[in-house]
Amino acid sequence: MQGKAPGVNITTPNGVLNNPPVVRIRGVNSISLSSSPLYVIDGIPTYSGDNSATNAPNNPLSSINPNDIESIEVLKDAAAAAIYGSRAAGGVILVTTKRGKKGQSKVSVDSWAGLTKAFRLFDVLGAEDYMMIKNEAVRNLNANRVALGAAGNNVEGFRPTLDADGNVVDTRWYDYIYRTGFSTSNSVNFSGGTDKTSFYASVGYTNQKGMLENNEFKRTSARVNVDHKVYKTFSVGARINYANNYNAAPSTGSLSGSAFGTAGLGRLPLVLPPNIPAYTPDGRPATNGAGVGAGANVNPAAPTSALAPGYYNPVVDLAYNYFNSESNQIQGNVYANWEVLKGLNLRTTYGIDNVGFEDKSFQTALAGDGFSTGGSATNYYRTNKRWNWQNTAQYDRSFGEHNVSLLLGGEQQQTEVQRWGANRTQVADDFFDTYQGNFTNIAAAGNAQGFNYLVSYFGRLSYDYAKKYLLSFNARRDGYSAWGNKKWGNFYGGGVGYIITEENFWKNSGLANTVSFLKFTGSYGEVGNSQGVGDFTTLSTYGSGLYGINATLGYNNAGNRDLTWETSKKLDVGFSFGLLQDKLQGDFSYYRNTIDGLILAVPLSPSKGVPGNSIDANIGSMRNQGIEFNLKANIFQKQDFSWVVSGNVTTQRNEVLALVTEGQRIGTATSGLETVNYTRVGGSVGEILAVPSLGVNPANGQRMVSIVNADGTGRTTVQYNHQGGGWTTLDGKPARTPNQLTDGEYYGPVLPKWYGGIDNSFRFKQFDLNFFIQYSGGNYIYNGTKAGLHDQRFWNNDSDILDRWTSENTNAKWPRVVYGDNVSNGSALVMSSNVEKGDFARLRNVTLGYSLNPTLASRVGIANARLYVQVQNAALVTKYSGIDPEISSNGASNTGIGVDRNSVGQARTYTVGFNIGF
């Protein structure tokens, strides 16, 4: 769906399989709650997001076999969201699965096989350049020290390690981490029907191996959809899907919260010294304690000891550790529909959605994260149980040209989540690598319990006159268990439409030949948002823990009983049209969504010591607005050749209108370590706050940044010389240390200002060709990975560090290298030199297909057959220097957008497949 639906922006945050995509419909619609849309499968809301407790993400949405999907519909505006209104602030994605059709029974087989490869990896230094740069950095450090009158006693400790044959070790760490992944998928479905009964059944098996070693996704699924007419006016049916999902992933450092992990495979090939081997000559992984072995490198500051790269050897994680999450999900519903009178339908639908997740991980005692615990195995079991019951009465009646439709209904939904688990440490022997093996210790881990309940009543009255003038009004009342004293919210909406082309004056005029269809629409409404609020967050509670062998009881949540629904006020005006006998079709709309009562974690000063240092309150306000434009053109339509182009563009502008206090800025930390994003009134959410960098001083190779003068007026340029006087003005006087809060400037928005896609489909005789381009831009990205790639600790560097300042190369891209310097590159100070524009266009998909001639096909006894080859992520055009402009190290965070910190990029896949129907 990426780039295909206007108003829907889908970001693939990294290249880990089954990692939840970040889906935003018309922008970010909340700050503390979820901005993700509600996913409804055959009428029953389902789970989305990562439900796994391990490094292997598990998004239950992937339980559905794509071949079972008949249609996907996106609800964006208030009027369309009447039914799911209380959960529709972030939009609704309705998935409808296939049903059997009356008539001939059909069998269809879909199979594909594909290769997945890494794409756009960084060019990092090889061993020789690495040693040259780092030793130069040590020399520069000594020079700095000597200039201050201290001893320049650091040694050039970066030394070649020789392998068994006497060659200098030059390790390309990427080679141990990436592979060409092979994937296959097969599914078969049967469908058919009689006058009374129709059915659809399918089974599917998918096995995907990612570009990262040990990254795997397997899905086994089965579905039965049945519809049956008991009587002429009474029908029943059922939808049942079972899926087993198995996800395995190494420690990728790409999931939200793990950006700075010393085990992350996104980060390790960038930071690990290339002049050390992955394996010792006797074939064991090279390690030193938890970390990677240092090879021949010694610590420049303490020449008696080996260098201590605190990062892990990735081959240990890949060879011994595992992280997986396996889920079994049953999703199903039954319905009954009774047409009491002509036009009056009573319908009841009862659905369940139950998932069990078994999450397992093991970390070896040999090295890495399991080292300090002496080996560790952790298992969790989680159950998500949901039931949902909807009852509606709908009455449709026409009185002459007056058409009326009235819907009344109610819905209840209960969701219960339980998780328990334990962590075992200190493995008895290396032989054991499962939780059931023998370990010395055990401690509870990951226990959680949740419960929520939603009850809604809703009604919608629609009226049209002669299909020309359209009116609708809806109202709903929702109660949700997580709120405090104000459980209930009332929400209203309405819409109008006018189809001018239905007017006789239009039909009779010459215009009708050119403009065959023209409809104006407008709607306004309020919808609530409760998605993502903690089940018990409004309660002031005490939790129990341990003090040594004794239990404890302490204040653990500052509740706010006044917490209630966030309200989105959605306004939509637009028109849709068909020109030249619908050869050109399109629609245009302007949308504005104002969110009031935005829940914010009101920050409390840490010295108050309130748990979490914040308390939630409905206090903020925010607005999103923009336009959407969608166009489809049948450019050429002939027997043997056709060409269809469709494209869409969406613009979005987000503005924060109110926060807790005037002038407040809410920082959002990346993995708890570095705060790049700040949200403030007047800006858009999560703008990047960075100290302006003025490049490299050609006179001395020092990084220059601009700081605010002490009196608050004007700015001064200061420069940094690591351990050589620190921050000074350009004339060498000591200067204060720049800091982000005082000296930073905002770079925003971090959400694209515009995005969309262009789809081209050609058909020539039996061949079809499709290419799809997705584009997005106007946003800024904080390229924190780039900061890390130029850090002057022992970390390896991007090969462009060769363009660093030296006395011969004064007009350099990078500052003079000084060993230990983590300031000039931006590791320790968020600087504008690491802020980049995120514009890109991606050739997301190219498909070439060949369909068997129908007459030929019927001769060999098949109904239809198509063979295709496909390349996904075929090309990327961007000026962004990082691994991928479509990245999110903070996952689905609303305010931590646009941060690139050590994530694994997207893969490119090549697929061959066929589809045969009998």
């Binding site: 009474f234 010393t262 009841t348 319990q449 268990s481 509670t541 005490y542 409390l604 108050k608 010591g609």
Partner: protein, 498 residues
Amino acid sequence: MKIITKNTVTVALGALLLATGVTSCDTDKLDPVPETAFSDQVVFNTPARIALQINNLYAYVKSGSFLGGRYQVYSDVRADDFINRTSNAVTALQVWNHTLTETSSNDVTSVWGAAYSAINQINVFLAGLEANSASYVAPVFAADFATTTAVQYQAEARFLRALSYYSLLQLYARPYIDGNGSKPGLPLRLQAETGAGGNDLARSTVGEVYAQILEDLNFAEKNLPLTYASTTLNITRAHRNTAIALKTRVYLTMGQYANVVTEANKIVPATAPFTASSGVANSLNASIVTVFNSETTESILAFPFTAQNTPGTQNQLGFYYLPTSNPGGPTGGGEFYLNAEGILANTTALSATDVRRTSFVITNGGNSYLAKYSGGTPYLDKAPVLRYPEVMLSLSEALFRTNGPADTRALALLNAVRTRSKGTAYTSFASADAAVNAVLLERRIEFLGEGIRNIDIMRLNATIPGKGSVSAVPSSSANYVWPIPATELQTNSLITRN
């Protein structure tokens, strides 16, 4: 006809179902009660629950970011006895090389946060204990609960509050002797905080914070129990001697040596053997080696861990100081090794046969490591807070300072600690300075890795020595004290920077 009947029944059933479905709303389900958390309304209604809350206060002060490990590490590695090996900002690199900023998260932000979280837990508990006092009646509560148990709990809470404020002062405020307590101290939070509002609170002066600390400690001394029922509790819960021991540290830090003598005299006899004469019989254990891996009366306060209640990742003392490989012995993360130019180089004060060298220093890969916390994974050695020899050496120093170098009791105290570990006894000192320096040196040896070093440097407003390529930090330098964290600066408009 038959079909119609069946039809009617179905229809009627269907309609009934629909009607119930639409109208029924389970109101109980709109008010779910969590299964794992208590309402704040019920936590003072049994003596058992109140007892659990007392444990919670200790657990908060024991946080891995605070006195459960990192505070001790930070207080040692600021000075010159350790060398950072792993260059990891998460494990004290910036504390060690004095490059902390107000946004440094694992030290500047988290120590502040953990300490004030503990302080608020204490304040919330004290307020709740007070507010619910009318309900402490039979049959649920013992007759003397309100007059005895509740007062003892107050004393424990206030002891912990004093300990927390004292510990914060040593990092975030100028020394007391720099301006005699007139410099900016800490926001003094004494009210229970449970809601929004009240973010703004200015820093009290260093002197005002010390005054509150002493007030809390005086109350604690008066109302804490003399002893508990078990050795474990005598180490892990505050008793009267604990409050007295902390008072000696507080007065020493304030440079009020006469008061150190007064307080220490309450638990240190005039002559050997040095065993506390009242309360828990705290004394110098025969061997220092067993103090850290077992429970002895030498430990006045130390925080316990179990395999279920571990110090937490990268908080464990043993993890910081043990080498990554140690054939046949425990290993750690090797975050810091002992500086060969530091106290190790002093073979006179810390001789080759001193137990504190022979038992606590191990070598690996050409470097020396501290093996005081020898438990290895899962690192359950208690995190030490107060040991009896600290009181003895504080007393010794105070006596030398007040009575001059010839004070025989001061010398006996110093030598008791020293000779216990096979150190050579001092015979006499030429001057009070020489005597005091000998005590300071002894403290540096005795408490290596226990978080005392920073206190001993800063209370004298002395320069923090340099090491390796890290320069010394004179008292006049801005980074002599830690910055106030940005998180506080952003939310508390009355706070001032250091």
